[in-house]
Chain length 901, copies 2
């Protein structure tokens, strides 16, 4: 097995596709070398060697020779010699894993500086200050990384050696009366190096090695070992990077951007990573090292004159100061983009007028840039449609759709509390504690954030008026979360640190007290709550052209249909605009809360005789018919899946004393009887109580009225030549007998309406599959049901035995403790819940081959879940209107993944 | 296909095993005939013929001849002729299905009486009154059964013909000034017959047929058709009898017990059906028809002198009046029992001194009798051990274990309300509405019934003091039900008609008001609540000898182990007495409610720092150690499965103001803070909330304390040479990571205790499988878990999405409407929940072959469920102590069923 891969002088033994062996950095250095791009020569020690070394603690015997001959090749190219007193070669030792793990592993620079080589280097550079500065950096890094961390030598005092050396340096700066390193003279630094070595000797009881070979091998081993370091291990756990990948080590000739005013260093992107614009974009500094550009102590210069801004107008650009080098760099930019076919993030150093490329990798970009770059690269045929679609992540697409808290203002802002991210984006507003207050404040021109323990359908007007919603209880599929996502509104739920006192209009968080009118900023994408007003970034609508192009391309690829969950015509229109081709879930319960209707609803619930109940219900018929006419025509000619009444009835029964009086009078019963009846509706576990089709079975009149409303609306629209496709959905079926019972009523009413109106129309009847038992007996249910729609929220609840309203009490701990790797209400649990879904699909289709199967739970908008849904053969997913674009993109990704497999 | 089976004169074409073709009655008539027992000759028309006739509406052509020749055979044996004016043959036409459907189908008697045959019969019997009485009965039955019901002739007035005829008879009795039929003279009856025929003609517009053949065929068809009658259909639906079985028709020579004082009729059991005692037992009447014996108008005579009681001392016995006939009958009794090898229920008629047997069938018996008969028949080797065990149903065994409401007093008593039968047996007591009141009243010598909306662990002392428990809410696995069954106490739950007002100490049911101290009687086996005091039958302990024998025999057969669910040493002892070999579920939460402990429990819950929480928890350690010592030694050497803390913490947090003060002071926090914390614990759906292992994961100190208590108890007992076998059970696991997390703690503590005490002991760690996800991922969980115990209550809840506390609102309707055929919390849903269990068993054992698997949900005591558990290969079931005998018997039945298959 080959352990050492050389690169330099236009030829490399490795290549870009050998990332697994050479790591990302090593592979790209080899690739650039082969492209004829100037790369300081060096060699890569493989990831396999890493794992071998970590497992056995020794290197293969042959390695010594391999490294020796690689060093000799470098020496030949550079005309320098490692350890040579006159013309010494210095090298850097850097990690490089398959996948970037920024800052998680170690680096040692300037290896090869010794008492013997220092004079030669000073003579060669004529820059003693530069040489001693390099030396003190080497001592610091080596004593920390190699001696203390890798070799495990404990400092006598217990204080880390790096800190002790920094104290010495601070002390000297104090002594000299200077505040920055650069003001220390060559002599100062020379003295510092002596003091450093003394401290190392005293504290670690061991000399800083003065032998280049010792330095080289010590550094290589230290970098290998840093793969198993604490930071790296916990990073890998979070990022799900396998332990057995290992890191490569790159040993490379040192080049210096700080050798004088003919030297420089810089970083650049081949396109603008913030906008995607196709211009060369970067920063550089004269006489500086790479870390100076990013450290923020000196203001970096703009790379080129055409990217100068007001702030950087006075600073020199590279094309102005070193036009030849710039042209060389710009040519490399083009070469790299054409070669890698993606936007690159590059590092370069100019040593004494000569350009060296130190790194190239795919550049990170924000959402807007990702979309623009993908579209533009596709339109110039640099990449295919499939590649363009694959280049944009759902999160990047999401970014451009919402206001965001400016990350800059978020950094360092005082976090008040954390909750579950339930509605994405950012919002700023003043605290209000009731829906009515939200509406009133908003009417008076205030931006408000509605803060509640939890929300109920009665709060909807206030939720609509608020900029954002914040609740102390509930999970990501609680009422607040569902409603907020439906409107694309910022929302944080399950923020258990809040102690809300509504009557006093205040809340406490630990010892802080916040009152009505106080300002909050919410980052709904991260679940973070801040006091005060941070900055927001508004969505960049200029991206629309690229967004449309992206969506078009995604639609060419995807197989899954995309519908939206919506219950109002406006929402349906919005969903259409976002590209939904149908409604997958039209809930009907919110329609019942309208002030014009709620009395009849309550009469229906309290009525003691069937006649009285029927009478009350039938008052609702005209309203519901209008509801359905609205939504069916808004979505025409696409299908609309209407779910029959689902929630426990007591949700409708929160009454004020006045409302009780009114209702009791209307029904001609005593207040006591009314209250008894309301009490009788209370349930210990309403989620598992009298709801779903259990309502329609207990009160068939409800099913009848709703069916009639649907079919009368359908008949009217059909007669007016509006093409509509209603699908009636029976909720919460666990036994086929429940389905059959309700289906009979629906079909009977349809027949009645057809014969009464003389209009013929088609419709489907099907069911929501949201209980384990429905999945287990899907073959029985599919005998009569024409479609299934998985209700993955409820299915997740019952499969896990988790209430989505109550998981706030333990879910965060589960995720922190690694017991769950994600919230199963956000991204489907494919192992458990997914198994039941697969069973449901297979068994359902075993008796009805053309069974239409969709999913209308919150997972319908989650990319990972969408990939799973595509895999198990669903026909469509349905999600909040604002998630529709994400779903279209994710469905295309899912299909691409399937094609690859 | 043979349609007609003849029997008579010692030879029959059918036999007992042809029940499917001949029906029960026909098969037994054939069998008796073949045994040489005197049976009036006749023939059976098959069940196949019935279905054929009902399907096609016509008989096969050949049938006419077959029936004709069968009638001729009867004529030859009897020396009578059908329709003969001098010596006419009369026949009865009776139904007879495979399975007895008492009173659900039709009968026509005295067929063959016509104007032409009447004079001959009068001459032959010299008893005109008898003949006209027989004639008027024929007219009534025929016009009703054949003309109106079978042939569908509608009476002109709309009033049923039978009622119109009865009115005429009442009118005549009025006229004659007599009150009973028997006082009408022969002339009266003759006139009545004429009036009857006239009424039939007027009302039905059709003559009563005067032709014997017409009568015969009309009657046969009417009986066949009655299989499809309304009563029969709904009976079959309830009893799960298939529609396509059909009924046979038996045409049989009429014999008369009412032909004078040398005639008689009677019914008898070959053993006493109330006690099982091996004596001939029955009732008879001189000069009477069968219906007279059971109608209750005349007091029947005792069959034999040795069964006379005080009440019947003065009445004549058959062995006294007709000793020869009695001896003949007694010999038949022996012959039938030896032949059928079971206690028989027989009917006989003595016509003019000659004994005729009309029917034999297996006799119904109560629980005590069933057990005694099975044991005694086995001990005389009449039946095998397997047969004896199979003869006793679990319900019969249950009967002898509880007080019962006397069915006699229940008949006609005013039902107050119905609920779900949650604890079997009957109870009488005075209403109290609080646990404290229950305790106080009981202390003062009152029998009380505790009436609550629902119970909680805080009510346990009052539940213990009460004779029975009645709740308005909850299902058969609610708290009240679980606790009551654990104590074998009568309990009714989910009695939603009750409107309880605790503060006024009253409740209303519809418009009735009941106050504290009012009397109630509860039939817990049927879920019926009565006002006032009915009679109770106390369990007959004299049956113990037979009970023990039965249990011994069952234990020889069964393969399933039987454990009990118990948490107190007394309950464990009781369970041992009932034959449990281990505890399958020892809940630990009730132990936390002890007044000495509850403060520490609450401190633990409210504590804000880990240290404070640990401190509070550790106060509980000595108590828990004693708990476990008690129960482990009570069950020694059998295993005890101890479940770690399971319920949501807020169950411990119902506090009075005083308790709040005390707790706040103890914890040094403000009342406001305390109340906030308590509010924070409230959950919308506690069943799906922060409970089970989620508690132990959030508060590992609890798991640690409980494990320590278990293992310290184990170490102490082991050191004292008490052999114990603790099994630690982690509740509500849905992910293997949860299990692994908790298991690590348990094993660590075990190691600590072993090393601290120097005592070595063994133990198991396993988990409760009670969530769908646990079944779906059982292979992952079984990697570390040493045993599974199915928690079928929770598993049923989550599989169906039913809360056991809230199903009262719709379950009764589901069962009435046929959507569910039983309460899935009482008897396992084998289709859905069972499928998950099977998955759990297979997947669990796929990675751990010797995985011990039990079930500790309420289904552990349900015979149908036990059969399923045996089938899927569980190792044991665990149930309430009082269900242990039932479980032992049911497990034996299950094994017998498996062997048969």
């Amino acid at each position: 097995m080959k352990n050492v891969y050389f690169f330099g002088d236009g030829k490399a033994e490795g290549a870009a596709e050998q990332k697994n062996t050479l790591g990302g950095k090593g592979a790209n250095l080899a690739e650039m070398t082969n492209l004829g791009i100037p790369v300081p020569p060096g060699f890569t020690l493989t990831t396999n060697l890493c794992m071998d070394y970590l497992d056995h603690g020794v290197y293969p015997e042959v390695l010594d020779n391999d490294v020796q001959s690689a060093v000799e090749k470098i020496e030949a190219i550079m005309g320098q010699k490692f350890g040579d007193p006159d013309n010494p070669l210095l090298v850097s030792i850097r990690s490089g894993a398959r996948q970037s793990m920024p800052g998680m592993m170690e680096t040692v620079l300037n290896v090869g500086l010794t008492k013997a080589t220092i004079p030669g280097l000073i003579k060669k550079t004529n820059n003693p200050r530069f040489v001693y500065d390099a030396y003190r950096r080497l001592i610091t890094m080596y004593s920390d990384v190699v001696m203390e961390k890798s070799e495990g030598i404990k400092p006598v005092s217990g204080e880390a050696i790096r800190e002790q050396l920094e104290e010495i340096m601070d002390h000297m700066k104090n002594d000299r009366g200077v505040s920055v390193d650069i003001d220390l003279t060559a002599d100062d630094l020379k003295q510092l190096c002596e003091e450093f070595k003394e401290k190392v000797r005293d504290t670690l009881g061991s000399e800083f090695p003065d032998d280049p070979g010792t330095q080289l091998w010590g550094s290589i081993s230290a970098v290998f070992k840093s793969w198993a370091g604490k930071r790296a291990v916990s990073y890998r756990r979070i990022e799900n990077i396998p332990e057995d990948w290992g890191t490569a080590v790159n040993v490379q000739t040192m080049v210096f951007g700080n050798m004088g005013d003919n030297s420089a260093t810089g970083v650049a992107f081949t396109r603008n990573p913030a906008t995607g614009e196709n211009i060369f974009y970067g920063e550089w500094l004269i006489n500086a090292q790479g870390e100076d550009v990013v450290a923020g102590i000196r203001t970096p210069y703009p790379l080129n004159s055409n990217t100068k801004t007001k702030d950087t107008d006075q600073l020199p650009a590279l094309d102005e100061l070193m036009p030849d080098v710039y042209d060389q760099l710009d040519a490399i930019r083009t070469k790299l983009e054409n070669h890698y076919r993606d936007m690159q993030d590059i590092e370069f150093t100019i040593q004494d007028g000569k350009l060296w490329m130190l790194q190239t990798r795919v550049g990170k970009r924000n959402g807007a840039a990702a979309i623009r770059i993908a579209c533009e690269m596709q339109s110039t045929d640099l990449i295919t449609v499939e590649e363009a679609v694959a280049r944009v992540t759902p999160d990047q697409l999401d970014e451009i759709m919402h206001s965001m808290v400016d990350p800059a203002s978020e950094t360092g802002a005082a976090l008040l509390a954390k909750g579950l991210p339930a509605g994405p984006g950012g919002a700023i507003g003043q605290i209000v504690f009731t829906a009515d207050a939200a509406e009133e404040w908003a009417k008076n021109g205030h931006d408000v954030i509605l803060v509640r323990n939890e929300t109920s359908p009665e709060d909807v007007h206030g939720m609509h008026a608020a900029k954002a919603i914040l609740t102390a209880k509930g999970g990501v599929t609680s009422h607040a979360a569902l409603v907020a996502r439906g409107w694309g509104k910022c929302c944080i739920v399950g923020c258990s640190a809040l102690q809300i006192n509504i009557s006093d209009k205040k809340m406490t968080v630990d010892d802080k007290i916040l009152k009505e009118g106080d300002w909050l900023t919410l980052n709904g994408s991260a679940g973070k709550v801040y006091t005060g007003q941070l900055d927001l970034i508004e969505p960049d609508l200029s991206m629309n052209e690229h967004y449309s192009k992206l969506m078009e391309m995604a639609d060419q690829i995807r197989k899954l249909g995309i519908r939206a969950n919506a219950e109002r015509p406006e929402d349906a229109m919005q969903a259409r605009d976002f590209g939904a081709k149908g409604i997958g879930l039209c809930r009907t319960e919110h329609m019942f809360f309208d002030p014009e209707r709620i009395l009849a609803v309550r009469e229906m619930i309290i009525a003691e005789s069937v006649e009285r109940r029927r009478e009350a219900i039938m008052k609702l018929l005209p309203f519901q018919r209008d509801d359905f006419k609205g939504i069916l025509s808004a979505m025409s000619p696409h299908p609309v899946t209407i779910r029959l009444l689902d929630p426990p009835l007591h949700e409708f029964m929160t009454l004020t004393d006045d409302q009780k009086d009114e209702l009791a009078t209307e029904l001609n019963i005593s207040i006591e009887k009314l209250e008894n009846r309301i009490r009788g509706l209370e349930e210990l576990n309403p989620m598992l109580g009298h709801r779903g089709c259990r309502l329609g079975i207990a009160y068939p009149e409800i099913t009848e009225m709703q069916s009639r409303a649907i079919f009368e609306a359908t008949a009217e629209l059909t007669a007016a030549d509006v093409s509509v496709a209603p699908e009636v959905m029976i909720p919460l079926v666990g036994m086929y007998m429940e389905y059959d019972h309700q289906e009979k009523i629906v079909r009977r009413v349809a027949d009645e309406v057809i014969s009464e109106t003389g209009t013929s129309f088609t419709y489907l009847v099907g069911t929501m599959i949201e209980l384990p038992r429905a999945c287990l007996t899907a073959d029985e249910i599919a005998k009569h049901a024409e479609f299934f729609s998985f209700g993955t929220n409820d299915l997740t609840q019952t499969t896990y035995g988790f209430s989505r309203d109550d998981i706030g009490g333990f879910l965060p701990q589960y995720i922190e403790g690694g017991i769950l790797d994600h919230d199963p209400f956000q991204s489907l649990d494919q192992t458990g819940v997914g198994q039941l879904m697969q069973m449901g699909v297979e068994r359902g289709r075993s008796v009805r081959k053309d069974l239409k199967i969709g999913i209308c739970g919150e997972h319908g908008g989650d990319p990972d879940s969408i990939e799973f849904f595509n895999r198990i053969g669903l026909d469509y997913v349905s999600c909040s209107p604002f998630r529709v674009p994400i779903a279209r993109l994710a469905a295309a990704h899912a299909q691409l993944k399937t094609q690859r497999q």
